[in-house]
């Protein structure tokens, strides 16, 4: 028993050293084995690129439910009838809710670390490409909401927890200081980034840049093309700045060739549906919860040409954009009606009763708009469909408008206009290899359009921005084109704006609840009809 006692006592005493206060061992425990204190910033740049082209959540809410229905690229009854009757806080807040904490967060971190004051200032290519990516992601934010945090945004790590709101004007036009310390406005940023990229740095992006594989010349073209898009947006409200940047853009090289230049983000079928698949496609898949893929009347009317009863003058894009009429539960068009003469888009502002009235049927006829009107072509909606940021067609159309209005010495409006239409028709080859349209067919169609004018440019811009509904809605607010995109007449009783098309989206309800700077700088009133600074066109 004595020996036994000693053994047990020794065991008890053996515990005592366990609780010595060895803080080194404790500190080591707080190192996350699945995370690193350092990273190659190009990896974060890649995620910022990918997330600026995502995802199902935001595309469904901001791009489709609001932008596409408001601009009548798409339509439906009730739920999506021009979408002027629904005020779902989650829907209108989706872009704000999603982008700041994803694409802009990563891009902001890359800028902080690769900028002049960062830990890797030698990574100039990464820095400047990411600046452009940042503008791609945030310009839609500004155009959707108006005043938003910009100069202080994405700087939480620096201790700026609740950024101030900035005026749309400042976000577009403010000059920055060229030491990277203070970010300039969007136009200035694009110019700085593009200028800097003329002198390539040492950091190779070929295996990190999913859009251009490190081809900096193309990034400069994207920067100048975005500059043209944004500068044009403010033509009516700040002509001097607008002209200045359009001049820079036009003189520096733009996206003019689809096959070679298009700013499209490649997508994949997997492995992760939320990360790798095209979010726009997912949002439209009936099998994935989407159901609003019926084309709007203004779009289909344009595509059917001057004479709707004649297929010969149809836009070659008609049966590329439209997948026909029919049921397509799994988005397979084999049962659809592909006769061009039968293609039809749904008018704005219908409910079930008005739909029957429109169709000339008794009010209680069982009708399903989903099977009566043309739908988005499923060939545009593959899981790995590339996500379109900007196209050569848009650039040419913007140049045509410049020429017509005498901006920045641009001339030859007709050529730019025709090139714009041609390039946009040809871009569909990139969506589906079977969609090669021969030159003669394109020329024949262009001939039906006649001499260019500003309205025709606006109408073609509307077609060319199909799927980039954000841009179509912004351009309509600036120009008023196409004019056939108009308010509900008569408005649906449930419309929140008496049938008028919204001019902006509402902020997340969490912002007034959390950010003390909201009251001072945000758009007030926070309603759908408050116009942005540049929104003076119609």
């Amino acid at each position: 028993m004595k020996i036994y006692n000693k053994i047990i006592l020794a065991l008890i005493l053996g515990f005592i050293p366990f609780s010595a206060c060895d803080t080194d061992e404790l500190t080591d425990m707080n190192v996350n084995p699945n995370a690193s204190s350092e990273i190659d910033w190009r990896f974060n740049m890649a995620l910022a690129q990918l997330e600026s082209c995502e995802n199902r959540y935001v595309n469904w809410r901001a791009n489709i439910i609001y932008s596409a229905n408001l601009i009548q690229h798409l339509g439906g009854t009730g739920y999506s009838a021009g979408y002027t009757q629904t005020d779902f806080p989650s829907h209108s807040a989706a872009y704000f809710d999603t982008y700041y904490e994803r694409s802009l967060k990563e891009a902001g971190e890359v800028l902080r670390n690769t900028g002049p004051d960062g830990v890797n200032p030698e990574m100039t290519n990464t820095y400047n490409v990411t600046r452009i990516v940042y503008i791609i992601a945030i310009h839609r934010m500004v155009d959707l909401y108006g005043n938003v945090p910009y100069f202080e945004a994405s700087r939480g790590i620096e201790g700026i927890f609740n950024p101030h709101y900035d005026d749309v004007q400042a976000i577009y036009t403010q000059e920055g200081i060229d030491d990277g310390g203070v970010r300039g406005g969007m136009l200035w940023e694009l110019n700085q980034a593009a200028t800097a990229l003329a002198t390539p740095g040492t950091d190779d992006l070929s295996t990190n840049d999913m859009i251009y594989n490190g081809d900096l010349t193309k990034w400069r073209k994207v920067a100048y093309s975005l500059m043209l898009r944004l500068a044009m947006r403010i033509q009516e409200v700040d002509k001097a700045t607008s002209d200045k940047y359009i001049g820079i853009a036009v003189g520096s090289g733009l996206l003019i060739d689809n096959a070679d230049d298009n700013a499209w983000c490649p997508m994949a079928t997997g492995p992760d549906v939320w990360l790798n698949q095209n979010g726009y496609s997912r949002a439209m898949q009936p099998s994935d919860g989407g159901h609003n893929n019926v084309l709007g009347k203004p779009l289909v009317d344009f595509l059917k040409g001057v004479d709707p009863a004649d297929a010969a003058d149809d836009d070659p894009r008609l049966l590329m954009i439209s997948g026909g009429i029919g049921t397509w539960e799994e988005m397979e068009a084999e049962t659809s009606d592909l006769d061009p003469l039968n293609q039809e888009g749904i008018p704005n502002g219908l409910d079930q009763e008005r739909l029957n009235d429109y169709l000339g049927l008794p009010p209680d006829t069982p009708t399903d708009y989903m099977t009566i009107f043309s739908k988005t072509n499923p060939k545009l909606l593959d899981w790995d469909e590339p996500y379109v940021i900007m196209t050569a067609g848009e650039v040419e159309l913007l140049l045509a408008e410049c020429a017509l209005r005498g901006i920045a010495g641009v001339t030859d409006a007709q050529t730019h206009f025709e090139n714009g239409v041609r390039e946009d028709i040809r871009r569909y080859e990139l969506h589906d290899a079977g969609w090669v349209v021969d030159g003669a067919t394109i020329d024949a169609y262009i001939a039906t359009l006649g001499a260019v004018d500003v309205e025709k440019v606006g109408d073609q811009y509307y077609i060319a921005t199909f799927m980039n509904h954000y841009e179509a809605w912004a351009n309509w607010r600036r120009t008023g084109y196409p004019t056939i995109v108009d308010k509900q007449d008569p408005p649906l009783p449930s419309s929140l704006t008496n049938g008028e098309i919204f001019r902006r989206l509402k902020y997340p309800t969490s912002e007034p609840a959390v950010n003390p700077n909201y009251a001072e700088g945000a758009m007030a009133p926070n309603d759908f009809m408050n116009r942005l600074w540049w929104d003076v066109g119609n």
Binding site: T23, G289, N356
Partner: protein, 1041 residues
Amino acid sequence: MKRKLLFLLLMAVSVTHLWAQRQVTGTVTSSEDGSTLPGVNVVVQGSQQGTITDVDGIYTLDVPDGATLMFSYIGYVVEKVDAGSRSVIDVILAPDITQLQEVVVTSLGIQRDKLALGYSVSELEGDEFTEAREVNIANALAGKVAGVNVSNMATGPAGSSRVVIRGNTSLKGNNQPLYVVDGIPMDNSNFGQAGMWGGADQGDGTASINPDDIASITVLKGGAAGALYGSRASNGVILITTKQGTKRKGIGVEFNSNFVFENIYDHTDYQTEYGNGNEGRVPSTPQEGFDWSGSSAWGPKFGSVSQAYVFDGTQKPYKNYFDDGGNNFKKFYETGTTFTNTLAVDGGGEHQTYRASISYLDNKSPMPNAGYKRFNLGLNTNGTYGKFEFGAKVLYSNEKAKNRPRVSDAPGNAHVAIYTMPASYDVNWFKGDPNKMGAIWDEQTNPGTPSGNGEELSFSHPWKQNPYWAAYQYVDSDTRDRLISHALAKYNFTDHLWLRARVGMDWQTRKETNITPYGTAYQRKASMNEREIRIRETNYEWMAGYDNTWGKFGVNAFVGGNLMRREYESLQLNASNMNIPFFHSVTNGANQSYGYGYDQVGINSLFASAEVSYGGFLYLTGTARNDWFSTLNPETNSILYPSVSLSYVFSEHFKLPSWWNDGQFRVAWAQVGGATSAYKTALTYSLQGSGHLGYPLGRISQSAIPNPNLKPLTKTDFEIGLDLRFLDNRLGLDIAYYQATTTDDILDATISQSSGFGGTTVNIGEMENKGIEMLLTGTPVRGEFTWDISLNFAYNDNKVIRLDEEGQIERLQIGEPRTRYAFIQNIVGEPFSAIVGFTHAEINGQKVYDPANGNPVITDTISILGNGVHKITGGVNNSFTWKGFNLGFLIDFKLDGDIYSGSNVRLTQWGLHKQTLEGRDGIQVSGVDPEGQPLNMVVPMEDVSSWWGQYARASNYFVYDASFVKLRQVVFGYTLPQKWVTGTPFTYVNLSFVGRNLWVIYKNVDNIDPESNYSNVNAQGLDYFGMPQTRSYGFNLRVRF
């Protein structure tokens, strides 16, 4: 346990007198259960002569003729017996329920005389949890202990609970107490709660415990009580002491069987005059029938139209189907059952005792196709060999939850459909294919076709689920294996000096399967995940103690150390877009991805405690504990937590009047605190997913901004109390006042998303809790018929004093409901969990309406509308005993709290709420326009629904007083008389009728239970389509042999 210890204690100090007198012998048993009582003090009245009973309850004593024997035993009424000339005197002692629970378990498992404690503790006997049961033991605490606020969740029987002691102390972190089982901390992780976007309550740690294994539960409320647990005790401590073996002849066997029925408690009261429709008309086409289905009761009055299209494209008579067999709640939910059987054996000899128990619980939820099964196994042994004591214990549990119901947002949530179907709908229509509940059945449209394509029979829009599809085709199931074990060894060097070492482990693995099935309207090709979680917490502890007395002075002191290590690991496989239809396997997914999570935390501690007593009436205790945390940087990771407490038992000091039995005054001060979870001090980066097309993707790991300067939070706590007993202990009052302030709380403060982060991890703020607790006990009638009553009452006043100094953070957002018209926030000057929201605008007290359409104008700024945490909690417990009968019922209440009912928002927007009967033909609006000019108009009939839609955005109309009074528990039992069971194998037989949550006596909320929070997280005060609360009733049988 207590009996055994007392026995040992008394054996050690008793003196056996041997005078040559007549010998009397006998057995002392308990009237409670017929068991023999070891260690009962037997003395000859008026003399020093006495003995105590042995392990079998037998005593032998020499007694002078004509003497009176006095039998006393702690917890029992003293029995005096005239010895006469008898030589065998058997005595049955009756428990004294009014008496103080003298010996209580305190921190680190140290047993102390309750009167020596300078702080309040509450102890509950195991029986409180075994007769009328809750599946989750923590829910059974409701209404029983002053200052303990238990929230039942609207998530079904296998859900988690929320227990908060003396108010919420952390602005955003954990506010639930530390659970300690036999001295070893137990993991109480949440495995997932529903949020704004829905989900299922995945349960928590306390659900694993078998109530039949519990000897007692001790609640350490204040800082001083738990100070020896240091950082882990900032929210109080709940000590669970499990049953141990007893020294006895042979083995004791106890069998307990409990069977209860469970039904939902339906609080709805809908309008049943108007059915499904819009703008006063019924759906006139199949498409409208589908689009409008289920969520819109804006049709015409019943009787005006005979037929209407419904969701499946058919026409049905347009009438009130609630008249046919009840409303849809009654039709959809079932009668659930819970059947629990426990068998325990125990025994022991001179040196060692043991106990083994085995238990099986089988719950079938009122939610169709859902249930919960739990298997528990308990083994323990304790021994004393000379100077050595040792103990070892294993508690094993296996839990299987089948289909935890999804709550809050609509996807997969069956309750949404039940709540929002108008009276013109019968939920039975949604059953569809009889071979596959909730699936399309062509019989409905094409009679003669055996079944449909196997996909969801959907309605309304794809994100709303057919309730049968949600119940029968979705899978949210999990199984957990858990082992809580410990081993201890103690060496007593002398009678005064001892050394103890202990190691304990709580180890669990949990496997979950979640399936959104193939054919679901919003996810036609299905998605699923398989997740496995492994958690292990290990504690190593040593202690050395010394106790002694010198004259009137006594000392009881110890020092010790503890090393805590906790590891968490999760592996997850996700799959979506199944290649083979209806085959749910992760290997079948066209898209497959994985997830991996790991973290590790550690705390090293040293602690010491010293109690000095004087004269048996004054006790001064000081403790100190230093914790070192792994989760903070070395410069700030150490903190010392001191406490000091004083108990003055003035009834031992002064002679009080004879009607005044006991009196104690106590006062305590303590500091406790806490750290944070892992990996919050440094910014790190991770790789995202599997990359994209070969491009590696990098991201910031954290969603909240990390902070290298974090330091531990501190809670400073003061309490003062009185414990008084009067009238032969028939009246007792225990009253306490406390004040606690939390400073430098560590939390992820919500910041603007435009910063890139949803939050920032900071040490901020100060929050105060002040309160009063009172326990009033009385025995109005004592005798053969005894009536005991106890009232516990607590008032807690919580206030956020300060957030950050820089003024960047004015409010902390801690929750948001799916409607997004309201929020839960912590705001300076307001209590924790303020309900805030947008309101109906007013100008000079006049409601503002939009002149264009008459709609209420909603403010662009938010106002404080209520508070999600009740200030007042308590309960009244009555117990009656007469012969073998006992009747007990508990009424509990919570007052002065609010709830934002998202359910009522939707019921109003969709025309089911009774208030929408107003103005169906046109609403008269009178108020002012936004300029303040008088406005009187009539909103035409077709716009009435959108008027109510706008009205429902005014959150001021949907914050309700959540006060309630409930009949929480009823037990009516009968114990067979001893003489009936003599000669049978049984020694004790008790049969009881038991019931829980039987009646909501008082409430103030429309259509829902005031306890309808769908999550146990900090954001309290939100209701949104949770599982209705259940009431249970049945029988409990207990047999010993």
